[in-house]
Amino acid sequence: MIRIDHITWWTHPPARRLRAVRALVPRGSRFDHAGTGRKILDDISCSILPGELTVLLGPNGAGKSTLLRMVSGEKRPHAGTVFLDERSIHTLPIPQLALRRGVLTQHYSVSLPFTVEEVVTMGRYPHCHTSPSAKDKEIVSACLQEMQVDHLAARPFNTLSGGEQQRVQMARVLAQLGGAGDSDGPPASDKILLLDEPTASMDLLHQQQCLTRARQLAKEGATVVAVLHDLNLAARFADSLLLLKDGQLLAGGRPSELLTPDLIYEAYGIKTSILYPGQYDFPVIIPALPTTISSGDNPARPDNHSISPNDEPVFGKDTSVIINKNNYFHTPINEKIYANDHPKGR
């Protein structure tokens, strides 16, 4: 289990002081220059359970990626600690951590012309001493197939498209965690998978595939944390959600409890309509058009952030069918765009 214990991160770290001096200065007092600049993370505490896919949600700049960096052990929080099985993650040796924890960051480029297969094989490096064994090669080819990049294996990585690069990097991280059938690796319950916007440039199919695989790892007992922007993907795949805003933990819980119009409005400042299509067990979130954002400040209905039939667009009350399609496409903003696209005389 990962326990995040009161972690705080400033843009400018706190001044180094002798422990004795720090002890004398009361916390929070005028003389307690804990840190300066903006607080990216502000006293966050929560637990991330194994066997679950936990999704970090929040608007841009909420501190999701920074929180993920703390959990991965890449950055040390300025205050507080991240515990992994009741041990501070920063006291664990880096090579040992790499045997059980894989991280997919948003940085995909590779500085030298490696092939796709070589990049994915690097995922096995923490496990092999000199060169990859037959077992490692098996895992690599399994992971290549799993992310459907096996046909790219001999291509130079840097010539791939963004989505393909992302899939290859995902395959590398999966290979690091031992792929599907690694019996010699750590037990599934020890594995940790951290994904920072894994689906950002993937197409529809591979988004679903990538998160299904992450979910599957979680079902096997691993701890999986993903930063996502797509609320519908989060609603579909997450076991639990952590909603961040301005470096603070706004809420945490099951998707069905957490994904309410009010909470979404509080986090993102946009009205939404939430549908529960009968045949699925997850909600569908439909954001309002930009024009209806401004009416969110309407003092007449300050506490109802769901889209109502009075707003545009208009949705049916209990089905997922959009009934007033014409209205939907004839809001002023769309007309303006339309006008710009087709200047007079053409």
Partner: protein, 350 residues
Amino acid sequence: MHRSWTRILLVLLLITSVLIAAGKGAMSMAPLQVLAILLAKAGIHLPVAYTQGMANVLWEIRLPRVCLGVLIGSGLAVAGASLQGLFRNPLADPVLIGVSSGASLAAVVVIVLFSSLSSAGAGILSGYYLLNIASFCGACLSSVLVFRLSRVGGKTMVATLLLAGLAMNALCNALTGLVTYTANNEQLRSVTFWLMGSLGGASWNTVLSILPFILVPVGLLPQSAKSLNLYSLGEAEAMHSGIDIRWLKIRILLLTTLAVGAAVAVSGVIGFIGLIVPHIVRTLSGSDHRTLLPDSVLFGATLLVLADLVSRTIIAPAELPIGIITAIIGTPLFILLLYKQKKVINTQAI
């Protein structure tokens, strides 16, 4: 090409070029004669005729020089390949980024300041070691400075890297000029030798004096091959894959400066070997540092031995400084590399 075949080819190439280079000169010997003389020392007598004069020339003049070429070529090439891995950029080179000029500045200072010391009876070997240590310190200082300068927000920018190297080269050259200005006649001769870059000072003593400083990096740098592969994914990504980044940086910088410092101490500044050798090897056997580093050692040695052969035979009996030869071969290749990298330099950080 298959990787193990590339390795065998490079080994054969190195042996052939050593045999040819050792044979060419004022007293010409066939490669077979060279082989016979070498093997005779080991007790194996080939049915090839040679004179005692040939054996003496080979053992006393040619062989030290060829050995020096092998050592320096392999050291510079492996240092260049590792630096390119560490800077995450195929344009890094000990000379371009100013490591060599830092080393040569320190060497020149030592020559001028301590020339009285060595003439006062200090042994030749200890004099060379002193030079080695000084140039190592100079190389260390400039590489740490350039590494620090070229990093913007945790990333090495190509443009800043080359600019930092430019600044370092300019500063070191200016200071070297200043020191040269104050030198007397005899010191000036030694200093000029450094600035030209030449294997002309080769003797068994110089070979012995740099042997440990080259062998240690050549032996230890390939052990970081896996780490360097992971490092090409990115600094954080390498850490996630179990690499202690701080230790890797210290290790690579220390070992490369050791090799570059030693090379500069005995042969002056020889450019472009560290740049073009890894590049050519990459096109032969791929980017994997596990093959790149050992192959660079072999090919670097071959290339420098051949460049030295050209430098001492092309206008014989006079000698062209080897730095000129490597620059003439290297500059067009460097421009080609730069051209390929143009997009990267313009738009993105590596």
